[in-house]
């Protein structure tokens, strides 16, 4: 059987787009990660979306859907100038706050969402928020522990955002921020890249110079396949990623790039 160009062109289209349409219909075709955070599995909040699972690839719109916090509030809190708040990607925060001495990024959004919605959050690690976020949160009901944490983890709004929307009701409370981070260009590109995040694999931690022995001490178990994401391993083994992450980061920071 001979085949000429026109039928071949038609077959290419049919197989290619037919395959895409079929896998779309079956739900297999996905061009991005699922933007639905994991839920609490037990306790008072069982079944509720867990802010600790917010990832850098989420947009403020994704968070609005999952946690019912308007994107407009999020851009106000993090002092973002954008015409489309819902499209703003959480991972972009690191660029905006690159000059800040303290990291404002995905963990900051997790903290803000947890406090805003009154959801549990592990506060044993340091997560920072800009002033606007803290002011917004203090308008809500917070526990004394949360208020103390906020006071110790607030940094100035980014300098470039001077024309950003002001928080509507500015209530300067007695508890002024104790930690006032001076924006500094000290955070180099290298240190940004060597951050333990949700998508970091054991291979990357090894490549950053942390030995397998130290990793196994931290996770308290034999290291799995190096291509496994640390976060996935923690979830599977019932470990708290928010505890493992800073421990690994400390070891990464000890090793000079």
């Amino acid at each position: 059987m001979n085949l000429t160009s026109k039928p071949l062109a038609a077959i290419i289209f049919v197989i290619l787009f037919g395959g895409i349409m079929f896998t779309t219909a079956t739900g297999w075709w996905k061009t991005e990660s699922t933007k639905q955070p994991a839920t609490f599995t037990e306790g008072e909040f069982a079944g509720v979306a867990n802010p600790a699972d917010i990832r850098g690839s989420y947009t403020f719109g994704d968070i609005e859907k999952a946690f019912d916090i308007p994107s407009s509030i999020l851009v106000q809190a993090f002092v973002i100038e954008t015409s489309d708040p819902a499209a703003f990607a959480v991972k972009s925060l690191e660029e905006i706050y690159a000059a800040s001495e303290f990291e404002i990024g995905t963990a900051s959004v997790r903290l803000f969402v947890a406090f805003y919605k009154g959801l549990p959050m592990d506060l044993t690690t340091d997560m920072y928020l800009p002033e606007n976020a803290t002011i917004l949160l203090k308008e809500r009901t917070l526990t004394p522990e949360q208020l103390t944490y906020l006071d110790a983890h607030t940094v100035p709004n980014p300098a470039a955002a001077s024309s950003a929307p002001e928080v509507a009701t500015v209530q300067v409370t007695e508890s002024a921020p104790e930690v006032v981070a001076t924006p500094s260009p000290a955070m180099s590109e290298v240190s940004i890249e060597r951050l333990v995040k949700g998508k970091t694999t054991f291979r990357e931690v090894l490549d950053w110079g942390v030995s397998q022995e130290i990793i196994e001490q931290i996770i308290g178990a034999p290291m799995p396949n190096p291509l496994t994401k640390v976060k996935d391993f923690c979830t599977e083994k019932g470990l708290d990623f928010e505890v493992i992450k800073p421990a690994l980061q400390t070891e990464v920071d000890k090793v000079k790039p």
Partner: protein
């Protein structure tokens, strides 16, 4: 084709292939632009906003090891890349690397640039590299393939994106593109003035994978010896410099199934070089 100054045969072109190439070039370019627009709050309605990584079938190839050992995809790779890889394999099993010859926008761009080379260098074009060296260099893409698969498997990250000219072509305006990719893209485009599809011939790891299917694809390029006039037109026309007139069946790993050598295009004798399944009677 001219013999003693007289045109005996007017070579035809596989025009439908050009249409298909244009279509996929524009589609990928628009999706890539849309991806950037969406990240900055804009976007073109009714058009996919997928990242280029999620629409690259080679992404599926490099993630096979991690998927088999850990059950997850390499960072930035999603199910769509895996599905496109399977579709690419189905097409290649049936027709050979039609993805390279008909779909791949980087191949298309190289062909466009090569038109300049054809104008400048005439018959010398695509014959600059000495045959012996060329024959060795053709296997370089398998070295690239082995390296890409190895570094991706051991690192779990998409390291090839740092050097990928295809990614650079459709992301040169974004901060995601790496300087290595831009340099390789630039070198590829410059070389395209002298050689037809230099990236495909010497370096493309995905072409290397698909090229293997030429050994057993269902539809093969076949030459009917009894009617062949042995004018060598098919070999001269072949963008991949395959000596079609010297074989009965083209099983060369470099064939991209463009059909430019067939009787539908350059071959002046009907039903002599054909794209055929089941053999010639």
């Amino acid at each position: 084709m001219k013999i003693f100054g007289k045109r005996l045969f007017r070579p035809r072109s596989i025009w439908i292939r050009r249409v298909v190439q244009w279509f996929f070039f524009l589609l990928i370019a628009l999706i890539s632009v849309n991806h950037t627009l969406v990240e900055s709050g804009g976007g073109i309605p009714f058009l996919s906003t997928a990242s280029l990584h999620s629409l690259c079938p080679f992404g599926g190839v490099v993630t096979i090891y991690q998927y088999a050992t850990v059950g997850t995809f390499v960072q930035k790779i999603h199910e769509s890349a895996f599905i496109l890889m399977i579709i690419g394999f189905v097409l290649a099993f049936l027709f050979g690397p039609v993805f390279c010859g008909w779909v791949c926008p980087l191949g298309t761009v190289q062909e466009w640039v090569s038109k300049l080379g054809k104008k400048f260098f005439k018959r010398k074009f695509n014959h600059f590299v000495p045959t012996k060296l060329d024959n060795i260099l053709r296997y370089l893409r398998y070295v690239v393939l082995a390296w890409v698969v190895y570094v991706t498997a051991t690192s779990g990250t998409l390291i090839f994106a740092e050097y990928d000219p295809y990614f650079a072509l459709f992301n040169f305006w974004s901060s995601e593109v790496a300087i290595g990719g831009l340099i390789i893209l630039g070198v590829t485009l410059i070389l395209s003035v002298f050689v037809e599809r230099p990236w495909c011939k010497y370096a493309c790891p995905y072409g290397a994978v698909l090229g293997i299917t030429n050994l057993f694809r269902v539809f093969q390029i076949r030459r009917v010896e009894s009617t062949c006039k042995a004018d060598g037109a098919c070999s001269i026309m072949c963008p991949m410099n395959i000596p079609v007139d010297a074989v009965k069946t083209v099983r060369d790993h470099q064939c991209i199934s463009c059909l430019e050598c067939t009787s539908e295009a350059i071959c002046p004798v009907a039903k002599t070089v054909v794209f055929n399944a089941g053999g010639i009677k």
